[in-house]
Symmetry: C2
Subunit: 126 residues, 2 copies
């Protein structure tokens, strides 16, 4: 039985790993058979494609922070966050996202779904 504290800790560890640029730490939260549907409605990524996806997405650096309460059910977390993603050219894309984590019995994330789209994105020049 997964506790709410374990689920909440995993969400915080995920955001901290992205902020640290530590994609291996991100991967450590996922089950071996995990699927990452980012954004929702696209074909889920699996296996080595997941690491490649995170590496490319955050190549220029990113900062993420929660923007509201984490919804924690018996086997899922839903959490709203703001991501600021830097491009090599110096522009910053700001995205408001709601991620869903579905956990397996070992407390690993076996499905991630990222809910966002064009209405959730804006740009800033630094």
């Amino acid at each position: 039985m997964l506790s709410s504290a374990q689920i909440t800790e995993t969400v915080h560890a995920y955001l901290a790993a992205i902020n640290a640029g530590d994609m291996q730490a991100v991967m450590a939260l996922y089950a071996d058979n995990a699927a990452v549907e980012d954004p929702a409605g696209t074909e889920p990524k699996r296996g080595a494609d997941i690491l490649e996806f995170y590496t490319n997405a955050f190549a220029g650096g990113a900062s993420v922070e929660l923007t509201g309460a984490i919804g924690v059910s018996s086997r899922t977390a839903a959490f709203p966050f703001r991501a600021e993603i830097k491009s090599p050219a110096g522009s910053v894309t700001i995205v408001e996202v709601i991620d869903i984590f579905e956990f397996n019995e070992d407390g690993k994330v076996e499905k991630m779904t990222a809910h966002f789209g064009p209405t959730n994105m804006s740009q800033r020049e630094d």
Copy 2:
């Protein structure tokens, strides 16, 4: 092709229907074959059970309001909201929830999943 505006409108219509206590208006947003998993991890409700569920859940009156951005993908909405649910005895339960709507091609909600649990609930005496 469903537009972001249609998806956003449906979310606002849903919250307005709950605030109005109009459960038929809630039902009108759902597809005939809809499934409502509330909270996440429980057996989805279908058909007449959905109306019964909403009627019972909000029998004492409820108010709901968005607490952050609606994450809108090509076929889903994710939205954080606070629900204040009155009991007949006068106590108020406050719940921070993140709902996911998955839409069919006609713009009806065919799956709702509500992400919350004990850590998202608090009580107040009015």
